[in-house]
């Protein structure tokens, strides 16, 4: 006999269906008082009187609660933005530079959002893995040590031989084993590496990926030598740029094939709570890669500004000029260049322009200042 009551718990039919009757207003005045109460409530965020910190003024109470313990994680998303792993440089007999990198696979519980632990598989204890950076033409020697409990590999998006591809049968190594990947750094651009052991989805979404940036050699690009020079890490021209390494990723914490948390550099809302400081006068360059699992695309939208975009970073002239939004499918990446020179100082938001991703953690702020100490 109570069926009607229970059915209503899961269906909305009665609400519409009973309009023809005198219904709620006649029998029960609670609906009447309901609308009253609701009227009070339609305005701005209910706790508008709460202390308005930087991120709250922009996003109100729609935010994860608390802070992530970066010390326990062993990596800090803000430090990660500018933390390039350039390897150990030595000279080869033929005069070329050789860069040696060491990467260790480590299984590790990481805190991907305040209070939420995720059993990750990491390269060098961090997610994303170290942002490797080399110069076009360098000889690269990357040693992978597998301290995990599953087979793993490094699969580079670059030009190399089949033997160095990091796929099953060519560089996927068992626990306890070691492998050295050797190839030349080419083509220049903004690339990535990731594990190519199977099943791919699981290995990617557990955190086995990272940026792999090859700077152009100015000597090889006389027509755009100045541009190449500005991209070459270590050059004085490059030092004027504010370069940021950003990996768009996500985590499916309950393993149901849908992500619970989206982020840029792993920690949901990290740059919303700790905005990225930008000096107004100096240009900004972002090396951006999308490695989000389960969703076909991700995107990057910059507020109140436009940027030039170099898809995959393999050109020295922009592939898209003056846009404020780009889309990347999985493993797609590129370079964004923009400046706040003409802007007044303040907080400028950036986020995926899929609202769902934004509201599940993938949004942040640039804190544009006159000077950055």
């Amino acid at each position: 006999m109570l069926k009607w009551a229970q059915t209503n718990l899961s269906r909305r039919r009665l609400l519409g269906g009973s309009i023809a009757t005198i219904g709620a207003s006649a029998i029960c005045s609670s609906t009447g008082s309901a609308q009253e109460a609701h009227g009070n409530h339609g305005g701005p965020a209910p706790n508008a009187d709460a202390a308005a910190s930087a991120h709250r003024s922009a996003h109100g109470a729609m935010m994860t609660v608390g802070t992530v313990d970066s010390a326990r994680n062993g990596f800090d998303p803000t430090a990660m933005l500018t933390d390039w792993y350039t390897g150990v440089v030595s000279e080869l007999p033929d005069g070329r530079k050789q860069r040696s990198f060491e990467i260790t696979v480590e299984e590790k519980e990481i805190e991907i959002a305040p209070g939420v632990m995720f059993p990750a598989w990491t390269y060098n204890g961090r997610v994303p893995g170290p942002a490797l950076r080399a110069t076009e033409g360098d000889r690269l020697k990357i040693t992978l040590k597998n301290n995990g409990s599953h087979p793993h590999s490094l699969h580079f998006h670059g030009i190399h031989s089949a033997r160095m591809d990091g796929v099953p049968g060519a560089g996927v190594i068992d626990p306890g084993e070691e492998f050295v990947y050797e190839f030349d750094a080419k083509p220049f651009g903004c690339h990535l590496y990731h594990c190519h052991a199977l099943p791919l989805t699981r290995h990617l979404h557990k955190g086995m990926y990272g940026l792999f940036v090859i700077d152009p050699d100015p000597a090889r690009h006389p027509e755009h030598a100045d541009v190449a020079q500005s991209r070459l890490l270590g050059s004085p021209e490059n030092a004027n740029w504010q370069e940021l390494a950003m990996v768009m990723n996500a985590f499916d914490t309950n393993f149901d094939g849908e992500n619970e948390f989206y982020a840029c550099n792993t920690i949901a809302h990290c740059y919303a709570k700790e905005p990225i400081r930008i000096a107004r006068e100096r240009p900004v360059r972002i090396y951006l890669v999308n490695i989000t699992e389960f969703d076909p695309i991700n995107s990057f939208h910059l507020h109140a500004n436009f940027f030039d975009y170099y898809d995959q970073g393999t050109t020295l002239t922009p592939t898209l000029k003056t846009v404020d939004l780009i889309m990347q499918c999985q493993a797609q990446r590129g370079i964004l260049e923009f400046t706040f020179k003409e802007h007044e100082p303040g907080l400028y938001m950036f986020h995926a322009h899929q609202s769902e991703f934004t509201e599940l953690g993938w949004m942040g702020m640039f804190d544009v200042r006159e000077t950055v100490s």
């Binding site: 609701h38 409530h41 914490t253």
Partner: protein
């Protein structure tokens, strides 16, 4: 002291002997204590620790929507204390407050409040993310403000309760004068009809109780709880009812009224809960259906007293006993609701209904002085069928 047969005629054992019996009880307690200490100290079950995360379970027992946003009462049911790390509403993370803070121990509850600007009449999904990344989803099917206990809302709920509980019983009892002259055949028919409608109510109540039990936290073991409470309520009422022999007349009518009243209480809880959960679209037609459906309850109460001459006050008392709990149920259900309480209330009602089924059947058997075969006589059988089918058919009016 179970090992020694107790003989009341035997002189009491000397004090020293009784003491030694108590001392013997220390042995099993000591063994248990040692086992516990060993389990914690030596951790012999360590080999079962396969690295799997703890089992987690979260039941959402109450949802309150008001101008501050959402408040949800959650009960933890994991193998370890649980930590709610983040809360999503409609796929967005919202700042929330938990009271009390920290981990929620097994079986404990906590209030989660979010300043979420919900939208009237629409559906919202709340998703709790624990520190292990597990998620527990709760749907607010229709967002309406949770009723608060103002005098006007209590009054309108009382009017509704009167319509579905008190009025039909009163109307049914008003048939009393007309039925008074009934012959033995009609009498049997009416009593059998009472049994029929009670049988319908018993099944209905049990099914509802089990459904509510299924929604309650696992720690309450819903199904077992419903069955045990039903049996306990049945036995207690049987025991009370038969203290002075089989109840008849006004006493039996009172028990029928009590059983129906407990049923109506559970029903009231569910109606109140439905208001809280957003099922506020209760139409006139539906209320009339309820009224019609419950009229037979009044006739059932009247049946055992047709040969007596109860006072008018007795009629008023019976009406309030059977119908009044609907009002109280609606009040409680809309203000403080958790599925296990509704399940318990319904289970008590089921036990009470089972008791009156037995007693009214006994009355039929006695009045016909034809033994158990009285239950198979055409008038009895006709009454049973009429009662059950009337309830079934009128229930169609209120099934959605």
């Amino acid at each position: 002291m179970m090992h020694k047969p107790v003989n009341v005629t035997q002189p009491r054992a000397p004090a020293s002997l009784r003491l030694s019996h108590w001392l013997w009880l220390l042995v099993p307690i000591a063994v248990l204590a040692m086992a516990i200490v060993w389990l914690f100290q030596a951790n012999p079950l360590q080999s079962f620790n396969n690295g799997a995360p703890p089992v987690e379970n979260l039941t959402i027992e109450r949802t309150i929507l008001d101008h501050n946003g959402l408040q949800l009462l959650v009960r933890a049911g994991g193998s370890d204390p649980m930590m709610i790390a983040q809360v999503q509403v409609d796929d967005a993370y919202w700042e929330f407050q938990q009271n009390p803070q920290g981990r929620i121990a097994r079986g404990e509850t906590a209030w989660i409040s979010l300043p979420f600007p919900w939208v009237l009449g629409e559906t919202h999904k709340v998703n709790f993310v624990t520190n292990t990344g597990a998620t527990f989803e709760h749907e607010i099917a229709v967002a309406v403000p949770t009723p608060v206990a103002t005098s006007s809302s209590l009054w309108s709920q009382a009017v509704l309760g009167a319509f579905v509980g008190i009025l039909p019983v009163a109307i049914g009892l008003m048939c009393y004068p007309a039925l008074r002259g009934a012959g033995p055949g009609t009498m049997t028919f009416l009593l059998a009809m009472t049994v029929g409608l009670l049988a319908f109510l018993l099944i209905d109540t049990l099914v509802e109780a089990l459904e509510f039990a299924a929604k309650s936290a696992a720690i309450f073991q819903g199904s077992a709880m419903v069955v045990l409470v039903t049996m306990a309520s049945f036995l207690v009422l049987m025991g009370i009812g038969r203290r002075h022999g089989t109840p008849t007349g006004l006493a039996l009518a009172t028990y029928i009224a009590l059983g129906i009243g407990l049923h109506n209480f559970g029903e009231g809880l569910a109606i109140g809960a439905a208001f809280t959960a957003g099922a506020a679209g209760l139409g006139t037609f539906l209320v009339l259906g309820f009224t019609l459906h419950n009229i037979t309850e009044g006739i059932g109460i009247a049946a055992p007293i047709l040969r007596k001459t109860p006072t008018l006050a007795a009629f008023a008392g019976l009406t309030l006993l059977a119908g009044g709990p609907a009002v109280i149920g609606i009040w409680l259900g809309s203000l403080a609701y958790a599925p296990q309480w509704t399940a318990i209330a319904l289970a008590i009602g089921a036990g009470a209904i089972a008791q009156v089924i037995i007693e009214v059947s006994a009355l039929i058997v006695r009045s016909r002085s034809a033994g158990i075969s009285a239950l198979l006589a055409p008038s009895t059988f006709g009454g049973l069928a009429a009662g059950a089918s009337f309830m079934y058919i009128t229930a169609m009016l209120v099934k959605i």
